[in-house]
Amino acid sequence: MLPGLTHEEILRYSRHLLIPEVGLEGQKKLKGSSALVIGTGGLGSAVSLYLAAAGVGRIGLVDYDVVDSTNLQRQVIHGTERIGILKVESARERMLDLNPGIEVEIYNEPFTSENAMHIAQNYDILIDGTDNFPTRYLTNDVCVFLGKPNVYGSIFRFDGQASVFYAKEGPCYRCLFPEPPPPGLVPSCAEGGVLGVLPGTIGTIQATEALKVLLGIGSPLIGKLLLYNALDMSFDFVKLKKNPKCRVCGPDADIKELIDYEEFCGVPGHDGDEGSAGADWDITAPELSERMKNNHLKLLDVREPHELQISSFPDVVNIPLGTLAARLSELDSAEEMVLVCKSGTRSARALELLVTAGFKKVKNLKGGINAWAQDVDKSLPIY
């Protein structure tokens, strides 16, 4: 039995009611439906705003982070006055301002193998707006096990992808990506950057797909993957088929329950910006400052050259991480060296590469040049 609409709601949704594909019946369907948005970042901002505006009756938000100023270049559901407050609370406030007639349920916690089934079972559809591989595999598997559609979106720099993974009717995420890339190969947005409007483009496509699935109209992106490139302004589609060898939705599936996704992907379940190579290999910014007073230390900056224009040590050798393996001959393994990047993540990877190549006198600047700017040289900006 679908819920009725008040006169106020009929007025609010009049532009929907005028479309025959939605109409009164469709709007009631939306009011009676629910969606769980995993991640209240760039994708989550666009999806949550539009689902709220469209009148999806109950929307759940999962995120454990707080709003930070680096979010605001793309996470338009938040705002400058909300810096430091919980993302789920910030988002709920904005959604209820946009549409007080809906319910917004918030989960201020990471989406994990422990809580995911319990949270997700109460929603009709899941929206994948996460920023890391472990949570993407988790969201997929939860949807397969619960028989729910997974509206997928993913972004990097200028590239976006979108699809609807619905194992009942088509392939799942694992059919396309049976295993994750090796840790470190694909940079996160925190390391590699992202055009601010890109999650808006992909997030609104996810919102469109979610509404179509909830309304049962049109042809959702089931069995199709959208590939968007903002620089070329290209929208390409490829066909996706169910993978008969899929370990979670195939006929011989051997994964029957949620697993340890961080172990499976070899990376943490959040947008990695850890900045540490482990206690034995790290040097903190204050320690480095002390050491530099007494000795000359070679600094190897593994960031991209354009990042050195933002902040830099005065005397560094710059070899970007991506080219380091091919340029080892330029370095002297007998020389003491401190590796530097933005936040210590890429330099930790560079350190691993150098140690494997036989370098022993290398250290990683924990927290990167941002930590140096925070703790030692406050004249430098943090980015």
């Binding site: 920023d131 972004i155 990097f156 396309l176 990506f177 694909v186 947005c189 992202v194």
Partner: protein, 89 residues
Amino acid sequence: MTILKIPTPLRHYTDGQAEASVSGSNVAAAMRNLVEQFPALDQHLYNDGELRAFVNLFVGEDNIKDLQGLETPLGEGDMLRIIPSIAGG
């Protein structure tokens, strides 16, 4: 020649190029030709001479897994595409 579309995460290793013209009568040969042109791609696409399992290749709209895998023939003007795993949100 086949046009090969290079996804953003890998353009770092192709001097920023978004497309490459590759020669080869099938996908395996075309991919080898790509790596000859851009040796820095090798370690990201191959492991001990085998294409890494997470690398998704499509000819036109179709996954090569649904065609003849690496033996899928390529003709003049075919579009070969590497679909990357990306996770940003």
